[in-house]
Symmetry: C2
Subunit: 505 residues, 2 copies
């Protein structure tokens, strides 16, 4: 068969486009299931999603895919490819190699294990009984160790897992960075815990749902979220989903006794959504049409949620508006007191409820445990003890039970090891980006106080969003900030902000 | 390969299940596009739908499908199959043969023609210029004639087209039935047009949308529509979609100046939806998990819309409720006057706006034209004249332009010839079913007046719904009514109802 080089490239791009199409269909069904699909159809719908997901997996490991990879990787052929094709090839090759190295029978067994482990974890958490979950977690760790054997690793076994969520990230970098962060946060936190907490009572007064929604929509619009390319819906566990840059949906949850859930949640998901809406349309139909990594994605949501949404200037501009939407709960509260209340720092047990200063410590606990597990320094059976010791060491509190401790997160039950660090990386990246933004836009804080978000959105679009996965996270960071991962900016941000709020230094 | 018979049957059922799963995914995306998907993602989403639809088509005509058909049709093997597999085999075989007989190049050309013809039709209708559409319609008719040549036919070429929408239906049956219907409706209509029309002004007063919605939900619930297996949304062109029996969604449209659009529209789509919700779960994952035919489906929606929703007894029970939801527009209107107003009969130009008595005449006009086209008795170029003559003959009015005449329907532009008769068949079937229901449930009219719909829903479920496509339309009709297609019941219904309303005999 005398195919031209161009025609192989074209066929390959059509092949990956079909995979992207199947993933988009899965995305629509997933969104639908989470926002209002009738419950009696849910089991059947999950089967449909399973069928499509199996198709995508089969395509990613097919002989046809192997042939494309081999033909296009051939040096004289490779040289003729477009940049987008080259990056696409790199991604599918990475996935092909990851999947093809696992014997099919072992992979199948692992999928079943994941599914069973998730059900058992749910029950174990409910009963706060780690021993129920332990044998499953042992198998999950063991299987992932065996997979690392198949995949290979450089430097540290855990690097292979990190690389799945944050390409290029290593234990060396994280050890150095997280140590520095921890060494600054822990003493700062200790100082804060000696101080009197600001009054927060007024936060927990009834704020009608419809008004919360209207205020959330107002802020989303100001952020530059395009409602012709998205929509806001209600769900139990909020998320944003980028089906294509023309259809990026945000979901939120309303708690009438705590408006922060919806308002900060919507801003957070809105940050994810802006990223996906602003990816270059040239990447549609390729695996590159999403964020550069989990950490970079999280940097966008956290930038908006914290660096903007919890910024004093933001509330200088928005507090009166919030008051006008509320049922009067803030009438007797000054802007300063409101600002302090939404920035309270307090050690707590549950990661997803933590404030921005203590959050990274929750992540570091998990990182150290995962690293220990995959380097045979910690055994699964010891996790409850190790968890509680680290919580006491870093946060000064010990969980009263495993449900509020080692069993709180779903991640491990699905075999997602190496994912947690992304959350802390998101904070570090966000602070680095804010610093570079200030270099390029010296008046950025005034812009926030004046509600001129279009400057910020434009800067993020030009420097981050448009590239999708065309740049690796470290490359993106280097290009924008001129440096690699650096916790100094986050540390400076925390010290400035909280020394002012709590009058500590 | 020594496969057991059971394993071939199992593989075949998995193969068709995958097709059903792809169709369900398409259904979710279609519903989403029509109810609230962001417009900037619509083009991309249509491509995704196209990819999945192409997959389903490829599977229906694949070598693998051919092999299943051949192996399972082999008599000793066939004898071992379950009833569901036998019926499934029959359906996929019919489709395989239909698709496989068309040379691929011709099929591809036809798909392009359909797509172009639809765009041109839209423009032609807007400009009311039949000559623009004429060459496309000629090609569509010509291509379908050539396809009939490939497919073959029995008795009449048009039978092959009828069979696609209403299996077993023939020109002989329709000629006889439609003639009888026409011969009764036309003189009845002529008598009615000499009478004074009841007052309808109060119908067109503002009825707030939210209240229309609440009343529609109230009626849907009474009908037995299961909201845990469905939902009601808003759209431009209302429809019901059965994604699976556990997820059957209804959409409607609200016109604040004419509550009938939403109320009768919701009852109509609710009739379709009850059918799909009550199909036996055993048929999930097969092509049999839908209505027996277009006509039988329409019988369900029309039964609820007209035999119930426009029944005097229904309003005896619901008029006060409707009044309580409205903003007072019916306060000075008696039940009798309301009933007459919602049952006004008046010849009109547009099929989809026609009342129940004149509606079948609109269909008969189209039927006679289609039959003439495919038997070379009518030429496309003469359609505007023929259309207008028939409208004058049956309805006593002549369209002032082609937009309100021959160009009004989308069907022909998509190559859907043979579809229109289903609409009139729906009326005829509905009246036959009502008659049999009265035989089994002598107090059915009292039940309607008392709002005891569960009796009716249960009867429909037992006699119609549960079977899905396990029975052919004629078989279903015979089993339930003890007779074949018979317009007498519809004629009797019309004569009874309208002689009372208009005081004619």
């Amino acid at each position: 068969m005398a195919q031209t080089l161009q025609s192989v490239e074209k066929d390959f791009l059509n092949y990956v486009k079909k995979m992207a199409h199947l993933n988009e269909a899965i995305g629509v069904m997933y969104w639908d299931l989470r926002t209002g699909a009738p419950k009696k159809g849910a089991t059947q719908r999950s089967e449909v999603i399973g069928t499509l997901a199996a198709d995508v997996f089969a395509m990613s490991t097919s002989d046809e895919m192997k042939q494309y990879i081999d033909e296009l990787s051939e040096p004289t052929h490779y040289a003729t490819l477009s940049d987008i094709t080259k990056k696409t090839l790199e991604e599918v090759k990475k996935e092909y190699e990851r999947n093809a190295k696992i014997p099919p029978a072992e992979f199948k067994e692992y999928v079943i294990l994941q599914s069973n482990a998730e059900s058992i974890w749910e029950e174990a958490r409910e009963k706060s009984d780690f021993s129920m979950f332990q044998p499953y977690l042992e198998k999950l760790v063991e299987t992932n160790k065996r997979f690392i054997g198949y995949w290979g690793y450089e430097g540290n076994k855990y690097n292979t897992l990190l690389d799945m969520y944050e390409p290029g990230m290593t234990v060396d970098i994280l050890d150095r960075t997280f140590k520095k962060l921890r060494d600054h946060i822990v003493p700062l936190l200790q100082k804060i815990t000696t101080k009197q907490q600001p009054n927060q009572d007024f936060l927990f007064t009834k704020f009608p749902k419809e008004q919360q929604k209207d205020f959330s929509l107002h802020v989303l619009k100001e952020m530059g979220y395009d409602f012709e390319a998205g929509r806001l819906d209600e769900t139990v566990h909020p998320f944003a989903t980028g089906l294509s840059p023309g259809d990026v949906r945000v979901t939120t949850r309303y708690d009438e006794q705590d408006f922060r859930t919806a308002v900060f949640g919507t801003i957070h998901e809105g940050g994810h959504a802006l990223y996906e809406q602003n990816i270059s349309p040239k990447l549609i139909g390729t695996p590159l049409c999403t964020g550069a990594s989990m950490g970079i994605h999280e940097s966008q949501s956290l930038f908006w949620e914290n660096m903007i949404g919890r910024h004093f200037g933001f509330w200088q501009n928005h507090y009166e508006t919030l008051k006008s939407y509320s049922a009067g709960q803030f009438d007797a509260v000054s802007l300063e007191d409101f600002y302090k209340a939404i920035n309270v720092v307090e050690p707590s047990l549950i990661r997803i409820e933590a404030d921005e200063l203590t959050y990274p410590l929750h992540v570091i606990v998990r990182y150290e445990i995962e690293k220990g597990l995959f380097n045979d320094e910690i055994e699964v059976k010891d996790l409850p003890r190790v968890w509680n010791e680290k919580m006491q060491e870093y946060l000064g509190i010990t969980p009263p039970n495993d449900a509020q401790g080692v069993l709180q997160d779903v991640h491990w039950s699905g075999g997602s090891f190496g994912y947690f660090p992304s959350y802390a990386l998101g904070y570090i990246y966000a602070a680095q980006l804010k610093n570079s933004m200030k270099r390029d836009l010296p008046n950025v804080d005034e812009a926030i106080a004046n509600g001129q978000f279009e400057l910020i959105t434009k800067w993020l679009q030009e420097n981050i969003h448009q590239y999708g996965m065309m740049k690796k996270p470290m490359e993106l960071l280097q290009d924008v900030t001129g440096e690699g991962l650096n916790a100094d900016h986050l540390i400076a941000y925390f010290e400035n902000k909280y020394s002012a709020i709590y009058d500590v230094k």
